[in-house]
């Protein structure tokens, strides 16, 4: 349960020196993708930050998000933050089970009503009254609605909680929905990815802890610090893309030379995530570095994007509306060269056709 110690007091009690604390702050700033010049300010707020209560609900999911978090490659920062936050309910990580676990959740909610942070992974089945996933006799839908009421903010971890994810893939047999489709009156931050990159999860928690608020977000509710740039813009294979050097198969000369994977289906150009810089497995590598294109797992409906190995094709989404609006806008604009290509891209998106390399590079240059 929450106590009143500040993080600074908590760390000093654990024997962390002042230099150790500054190091912790430098790592936290880097984690949150904040400029190093902010380290002293972070130190100041972290010193005085108070311990927040966190309730973590896992719904229709595979536990990959929790796996990602617990295998995070900055264990010092994570363990300190996780030691420090009061993780009052997480049915995979907590020792209690059954009624005791549910009582812990209810007690934490009561004690911290209006103040706790709610973290959700997994989508919420809505069809047939939500019977397809239940915990302690309660549907996920009921539990989310109940717990969300007393939350200060909600963090949707993983593409399932953020956008519906795999359970929502066509034909969506359980009527899976994202948290934001059900809770509409609370601040929500989406940390998509299948699973999300661990530093994005801890970075947002660290930011909430340090600054007491959610980070700046993009139009899909994702923190800009981690999802502000696409994979393609930060990909080290980009010079090959620019020169038109593409691997055509996974074992040709181009693949061996590390050329661009666009023609093998890489979704880097339409995927916003931090894999290219934050990387995975203790900073070892990321899919493109291992020779496989990006599958676009942090984007809505990535599973229905027409095939991981087809040159860029994108999710259908609200295709019919998009195509009409795009056509009308393109006609009205008189169609400059770049606009034509953007228009083609929108049409391809709407019709779910593969985009051609030439179209994309023409657009880049316009």
């Amino acid at each position: 349960m929450s106590d009143n110690k500040t993080l600074g007091e908590h760390l000093r009690e654990r024997g962390v020196s002042r230099r150790g604390f500054m190091k912790f702050c430098a790592a936290t700033a880097s984690l949150m993708a904040l400029p190093p010049a902010m380290i002293p300010a972070i130190a100041e707020t972290l010193q005085n930050a108070r311990r927040p209560s966190v309730i973590w609900l896992s719904f229709q999911e595979c536990t990959g998000c929790t796996e990602s978090l617990t295998r995070s490659h900055a264990p010092t920062v994570e363990s300190l933050i996780f030691d420090y936050i009061s993780l009052d309910y997480h049915h995979t990580l907590q020792a209690a089970s059954g009624e005791a676990a549910e009582q812990a959740r209810e007690a934490a909610m009561k004690e911290n009503w209006g103040k706790y942070l709610l973290v959700v992974d997994g989508s919420i089945p809505q069809r047939d009254g939500g019977v397809y996933s239940t915990i302690a006799g309660m549907t996920n839908l009921e539990m989310l609605q109940e717990v969300a009421k007393g939350a200060a903010a909600i963090v949707s971890v993983g593409t399932c909680a953020a956008f519906g994810g795999l359970p929502k893939a066509d034909p969506n047999p359980t009527g899976a929905a994202a948290v934001s489709q059900i809770v509409t009156d609370k601040p929500i931050v989406n940390i998509p990815g299948c699973p999300p990159i661990p530093v994005a999860i801890t970075g947002v928690l660290a930011q909430y802890l340090t600054l007491g608020k959610l980070p700046e977000m993009d139009h899909l509710g994702r923190p800009k610090a981690f999802y502000g740039q696409n994979i393609h813009d930060r990909c080290y294979r980009r010079p090959f893309y620019e020169r038109g050097q593409f691997a055509e198969t996974f074992d040709d000369e181009g693949a061996k030379k590390g050329w661009c994977l666009f023609k093998l289906g890489c979704k880097g150009p339409t995927t916003y995530n931090a894999c290219a810089t934050a990387k995975w497995n203790e900073g070892t590598s990321f899919p493109i570095q291992s020779g496989h294109g990006c599958i676009g797992c942090s984007e809505p409906d990535f599973w229905d994007a027409g095939g991981f190995y087809k040159a860029l094709s994108v999710p259908i989404g609200d295709a019919a509306g998009a195509i009409t609006a795009a056509a009308a806008a393109a006609a009205a604009a008189g169609l400059a060269a770049g606009a034509v290509n953007r228009y083609h891209k929108q049409v391809a998106q709407a019709a779910h056709e593969p985009l051609k390399v030439e179209e994309l590079s023409r657009e880049e240059k316009s």
Binding site: V16, R19, M22, K23, T76, Y236, G258, T277
Partner: protein
Amino acid sequence: MIRIGNIPVAVVDGSGNQAFTGNITPILHEIRHALTRLADSGEPTTIDLSGIPFAPGERDALLERLGQGEIQATLQALGESRLYETAYPGVWVVIHKSPQDIELTAHIEVTRVPALLTTPLDDVREAADALAADLAEPTEQESA
């Protein structure tokens, strides 16, 4: 029966085949600007290397290019940190590792001395008190 040793596997180091992103030169220019700023106005600059896209081996190439200067220090707090001045005075590399020896951050600091190497004032005050307390205790010789 096929044994693992019979499978013709050759480990190939792919790094030699990969072209670099071309990010080394812009970073060196950024450092050059930062050095001028430090010399003219005393203003330090920190560059977080973890936010910059590098091809495999490229960051090592950057650090190699910067070389090694006269000073090297290690900090033992929440894991080991290595701080050293490069061959360009005023350009420091600061690498923090966790107690599990996993790299947490890598920064280039353009400064006269990285802040972490200076003793925190509160530590100095506490040191004065601690020494005064030590002196108040009679030493073995005095009590003999």
